[in-house]
């Protein structure tokens, strides 16, 4: 297991348990008892540490290298998945995965950011940062979904759209903007789940929806804590302060009534148990999808428009 900085006490306990297990093979006197005592302590410790994580610590859990990514969920949630590649005009962007599949028996379209696990895959997936062709592939698949009356399930997990020379040359801004406009009008349900990092415009570009679900330790923000810190504090070391101020967590978004459900993660985070978090996500998505479908198309569009129209806090006098 890969432990984060603030999990060090848990890591130390787990190391001790591991050590005892080896000793156990030799003697096995009362060692099992000691192991289960330590395991209980480890889980209590995890519980207590995870019950009061700061927004910055949650940002780190959201980026945990073993956290399940879109393809991990696709494998566990859906059957008959076929990936659809390419934007039909320039390239296939591996940082954004699209496809058709079944959620139990229900046919659906899936669109999600994809990060890589090892160095080679990280490069292939560009660390989950799409270029314009990724957003244009998504646009094409959004329209496909509408044409065949398929609900769209999107999965957000990106540090943001890629800040590169080619991305600017090919119109990163327009690609994102076009998706926002198209999603606001799309005549099929859109259910978005933030599974890891929700990084700014690059996240929103697949995240205009009828329902927004967030995993307990996922984040969603207009700018990364580091980016905000380097602009407003002139120092990236203030990321923790910036995360506090930005309120990047699911709880804070929920207080602002921007989320429809927070999906509880297994003790210690989603990365500790991919299967169990997948099961919870599946249940939630199925429920919300049913609710939105029950509205009927016109009411659904109408309520999506109202959601968008009412975004914002201001005074009127």
């Amino acid at each position: 297991m890969n432990f984060l900085e603030f999990e060090r006490p848990i890591a130390e306990l787990e190391a001790k348990i591991e050590e005892l297990r080896h000793v156990g093979n030799d003697k096995e006197i009362n060692i099992n008892e000691e192991i289960s005592r330590l395991q209980k302590r480890s889980s209590e410790l995890t519980q207590s540490i995870f019950s009061s994580l700061t927004p910055w610590q949650i940002s780190q859990v959201a980026r945990h290298p073993q956290r399940p990514y879109t393809l991990d969920y696709i494998e566990r949630l859906f059957t008959d998945f076929e990936e659809l590649h390419g934007d039909r005009s320039y390239a296939d962007d591996a940082a954004l995965v699209c496809g058709i599949a079944r959620l139990d028996d229900r046919p659906v379209v899936i669109i999600g950011h994809q990060k890589g696990r090892d160095t080679k895959e990280k490069l292939l997936r560009n660390f989950g940062m799409p270029r314009p062709e990724g957003y244009r592939k998504a646009l094409r698949v959004f329209k496909l979904a509408e044409r065949f009356s398929l609900p769209v399930l999107t999965f957000i997990d990106t540090p943001g759209a890629y800040p590169g020379i080619g991305a600017e040359e090919r119109g990163q801004s327009e690609a994102i903007a076009r998706n926002l406009l198209t999603m606001s009008e799309l005549r099929v349900p859109i259910i978005t789940t933030v599974i890891g990092e929700g990084g700014s415009g690059g996240a929103l570009a697949i995240g205009v929806n009828d329902r927004l679900l967030m995993l307990e330790y996922s984040t969603y923000s207009v700018i990364s804590p580091e980016g905000c810190a380097s602009i407003l504090w002139k120092s990236p070391d203030k990321a923790s302060d910036a995360a506090d101020a930005l309120g990047v967590t699911a709880t804070r978004l929920n207080e602002l009534q921007l989320t429809d459900e927070i999906i509880t993660e297994p003790l210690g985070g989603a990365h500790r148990d991919h299967d169990s978090i997948a099961k919870r996500i599946k249940t939630s998505i199925a429920k919300h999808l049913q609710d939105v479908e029950n509205l009927g198309t016109e009411k659904m569009i109408d309520s999506r428009h109202k959601r968008l129209r009412n975004m914002g806090f201001f005074e009127e006098h």
Partner: protein, 287 residues
């Protein structure tokens, strides 16, 4: 004065006092060609350098004032005011930043919206105030933009937007991000009703504003040599670790890459936009 300044050791220089002996703001210098310009003449020329045609930044109200007919005009969304819902605080409080921008600009947020006429034809026009927290888009900007768009839909008249913005307003955190979706949805409504939307990109148009309403014009016009893009040049340079190509993210670069329809001199905008709107809106004029 300048030669004597060079001779003085820096610790006995007094900052700014020499400038104050001349009436402030009577003369100004072009940032590009260094020509010394008479302030009043520059204003008459819509902040475009008469020597080199450099388009300098112009404030929102002056922009709309120059663009619209003198009469009739009415402001949209002036009764909408910013609040600090999140009690955001970095090195400064958001409330203090708001108050400071309000003092220096005389505006209470970064977008001015007006209903008026262009050469006798009714339209709605909005302009970003870059001096107000970098023209950043928060709730008030989003709300005023949407109200202007709704007014356009209601009256069946075109919408013209002059953007000048660093992007989303960080101090409104996730709420500012959502303004991108909110404003884009308002443009979808204009599209559906066949109401023309002209987006004029001025220096600078970046980030969340560029990646939403500004890039969704039926016609997209840029002023000469404006910085326009999604990610800031410094961020890109740090990411790719290469020197950026000459003219990167400037209007001319965008035209070459197919991102905008045209580059237009600010002084020609009244004539040319009026003419384009007449062509695009021919159905209504004929009816």
């Amino acid at each position: 004065m300048s030669w004597i300044k060079k001779l003085l050791p820096s610790r006995i220089k007094t900052n700014g006092t020499s400038r104050r002996s001349v009436p402030e703001g009577l003369w100004t210098k072009c940032v590009t060609c260094n020509a010394v310009l008479y302030r009043a003449e520059l204003e008459r020329n819509l902040e475009v350098c008469p020597k080199c045609s450099q388009h300098m930044r112009i404030n929102a109200r002056a922009r709309l004032d120059a663009f619209l007919d003198a009469e009739p005009r009415s402001e949209i969304g002036a009764n909408v005011h910013p609040v600090d819902r999140l009690r955001f605080r970095d090195q400064k409080k958001y409330r203090d930043r708001l108050a400071q921008s309000q003092r220096t600009t005389g505006e209470d947020d970064a977008l001015v919206a007006m209903a008026g006429q262009l050469k006798g034809v009714a339209l709605t026009a909005v302009a970003f105030e870059f001096n107000f927290m970098g023209g950043s888009m928060g709730s008030v900007v989003g709300e005023r933009f949407v109200r202007a768009a709704e007014y356009s839909v209601d009256q069946e008249i075109p919408l013209v937007c002059f953007s000048a913005s660093g992007g989303a307003r960080m101090q409104e955190a996730i709420i500012s991000l959502m303004q991108m979706a909110k404003t884009s949805a308002a443009i979808a409504n204009l599209n559906r009703r066949g109401i023309p939307f002209i987006s004029v990109l001025t220096d600078p148009t970046m980030g969340g504003v560029s990646a939403s309403l500004a890039s969704l014009g039926d016609v997209i016009i840029a002023e000469p040599n404006a910085l326009i893009g999604f990610a800031g040049p410094r961020v890109i340079e740090q990411t790719v670790r290469e020197t950026l190509p000459e003219g990167f993210q400037r209007s001319e670069f965008l035209l070459e890459h197919g991102a905008i329809d045209m580059i237009m001199d600010r002084r020609e905008m009244r004539d040319r936009i009026a003419s384009m709107l007449a062509i695009m809106g021919h159905r209504r004029l004929a009816g």
